[in-house]
Structure formats: structure tokens, C-alpha cells
Amino acid sequence: MSSRFDEHGILVVGASLAGLRACAALRKHGYDGRLTVIGEEPHLPYDRPPLSKEFLAGETGGADLSLPVAGLGITWQLGRRATRLHLAARTVEVGDGTRFPFDGLVIATGSTARLWPAAPAGVHTLRGLDDARSLRAALLRRDGRLLVIGAGFVGSEVAATARGAGIEVTVVDPAPQPLHRAVGEAAGEFVAALHRQAGVDLRTSTKVVSLEGVGKLTGARLSDGTEVPATAAVVALGSAPATGWLAGSGLDITAGVRCDRHARVLRRDGTPAPGVVAAGDVTRWPHPWADAPGVTLGHWSHAAEQAETAARSLLFPAAPARYCPVPSFWSDQYDVKFRSVGLPALADSADVREYDLGARRLDVAYFRQGRLIGALTGNRVARIAAYRAQLAADLEGR
């Protein structure tokens, strides 16, 4: 089909969920030309959510994480890091200077964990499989104390997993509750209670000032003047869109690759770059509930769904698809399955409909200017569908 891609084909940068789902959608919609995927990691695409959960607990082997790649006719360029995009010449340059020409480009480089500057040995981040393997090896020694810096989703999940393995855990976060910014006070307090009941030493409204240890980590100094011992630490301070390789390309990369509602990538002058689309954690895009310049979401379903839109916009530029989802994410901590729809982080008020620590159940509805904007449940997934339907109806009216 479509001769527009006949010369060099379509190039995907980023060999993970969004990149792979874009490939699958391109094939599903009839693209049978050349499809090349460049990925920095040496691995074929795999699933990240288990890295802070089952995989870290040592329950699953690496093979179980793999995402299905069979039958897509992809030429893999793995272990290659894209370093530059030459938009006018329509090439992507990788580390060794090789340039890959393209007719169509999908940007799917995800995000990168924020690092701790000049960290001693024993300090981990958790974004990729290799990170998870080295953290797992440290946890499996079971002889030390783990410090988790940052009580967001990844930090809270790591703490829960490590406690489950019987490891002593200290969690430090500058906010008054874990997950405060994402889901607010009540849900944050619920998570705090889960941590404390599990025996986590939770230090909120506190910052890690410095990591101690010559060569190897021994502990940390906190902003309240106390010191905590630690043999390993996880820096879980969130992530930033992986846009470094796009510097100087002419694309708008302020706080993520800026896209329009069709997943088309915008240049700095605000116009779409022809034949360039993006999907997943790397993007910033307009949503009817969010103010300009839109939202960035680090959720599995977002990566999968936006990739579908991106593929269709690339193949059918005259009739680009509209991406207007009810966002959703999940998080498993201890014995609680948290499920969320909408954008709770944008709420200005919350209605706590159920808060039962004993039964491990939570149900919070989030509002913005009196209108439902999201919901979070814990072990109450049956209620999520109704919230989602209401949010979908709201979006349809916009």
C-alpha cells in the first residue's frame, strides 16, 4: 500500500510498548512496506510493570516479560541509541554515526528515571530490565536495609515488594503522604497506612539530603537531621521524557514531544512535522480536561492506545484519528489492587466514598470545578467501569 513510504519505509525509534504497538497497528491497517525499529536496550520489547512487582520479587523469569513480536516483519536495530534527528534530510543518526533514512517516523522513546547525582555503589533506579535485575540481585541477598527515595507509584511498589520479601525498608518522601500529587490526601493516607502496617519505616515531609558511604552506600542523611542506615537504595523520583536525542531537531520538546490530538508531532512553530508521529510516555498532548500545553502520562494503557492513533495518523494523513481517551492505570501494592480512571492529579476536590483499611478497600471520586474528572479504587475494580462510563460520556460532550 501507500507509495509514500516506498523508498525507505517507516522507522520507529524506541523498542518498547508504544513502538511495538505502533508497528502492530501499522500492519493491521495494511502497511506492508519496510519497518525498522531502533532500540537502545539490547532486549526485544518487554513489559515494564512487573519490574517493580512479580519480577522484582523473583517470581518470574525474564522470558515471561516479553511482548509478542512474531509476524510483524520488523528489522530490529537493537543496542543502538538514537542521538539525532535530521528532520530536513529525513534521517535518524545513532551512536556510531550510522544514519537511518525514513519516509515515516514514529517517536516512542518513553521516559528515563531521574538519577541521583554522583551516587555511591548500591544506588539503583528502576526503569528497565537491567535495572530490575541488579536491584533484584541486591534484594535477594536479603541481608541489608533498603532505602526508597520517593514514594510515588514505583517507589511504593518497590517498598511493598521488598517488604514482602522480608527486607527492612525505609521510604523517604518530601510530600505529606505517598502519591500525594497523583491521587491526593485521602488515598495517600491509605497508602501510608499500608506501608506502616507492613512495617515500612515511612518518613514523609522529609528529604534525603545526602547519601553516605565511601564507594559503597552505608546510609543517608535526611532533612530533619536524622540518619538512616541503608545497604541499597532505589531512587524513585519520577521520570522525564526521553527527548535528549531530539535537541536541535526543530521539534517542540518542551516537557515531552509535543503532539496534536492526532498524535502528530509539532514543530517549534506549532505546525505538524510531515510524516512524524509519536506515542507513549515521551509525548505531551492536548486533552479536553487539561490546560495547555496538555498532559504527559506514564501509563501502560496510554502507550498502547496512543500508538494505535499514531499509526493511523501516519498511514492516513487526510483522515487522522482523534486520540481522546479516558486515561487509566493500575498499581499493585501489598494485597491491594489500585485501579484508576480519568486524571485524578488534575482534581480540585475529592469525595471519599469508601475507606476501609481492615477490608483493604478504597473508593475515591475526584472532581474539578464540580465535575467528575477521575476515580481511584482499591480492591473495588467492579466500581471502576461505571466511573469510566461517566467520564467517557463527559468527553463525548466536549
Partner: protein, 69 residues
């Protein structure tokens, strides 16, 4: 078409319920329940549900034959 869900894999993510509410729902204990067969007119929604499932627990078969998704 026939719909199969591997309940050992299912983690009650609910994505299938969002994509095809006519086929998938939860009972009061958060356990997934689903129709085992569906009319072909629902194929698109069911395939979307299968693609949306983060643990790939959903299989769609032709009414007579082999797995198609």
C-alpha cells in the same frame, strides 16, 4: 465467535470491561465474568478488549476453529 479468558492470568485490570462492556463485567468480588460466545458484529469490540488486556488473558476463536487472536 468464542471468547476464552485465562483466569489464571487475569488480574482484574478491567480494560476488557471498558472496551466491550456487553461481553465483560465484574461480579461483586471483583472477579471477571464474560460471555463465552458473541455475535460476529461484536468482533471489533472483542478484539479491542483482547488487545487492551495488559496480561493477554483473552483469546478469540472463530465459532468453529482455531485461535484468531
Amino acid at each position: 465467535m468464542k471468547i476464552q479468558v485465562d483466569m489464571d492470568l487475569c488480574e482484574s485490570h478491567g480494560q476488557c470491561v471498558f472496551a466491550a462492556p456487553a461481553i465483560f463485567s465484574f461480579d461483586d468480588d471483583d472477579i471477571l465474568v464474560h460471555a463465552e460466545t458473541a455475535d460476529e458484529s461484536l468482533r471489533d469490540a472483542v478484539e479491542k478488549a483482547a488487545a487492551a488486556c495488559p496480561v493477554r488473558a483473552i483469546r478469540v476463536h472463530a465459532a468453529t476453529g482455531d485461535a484468531a487472536a
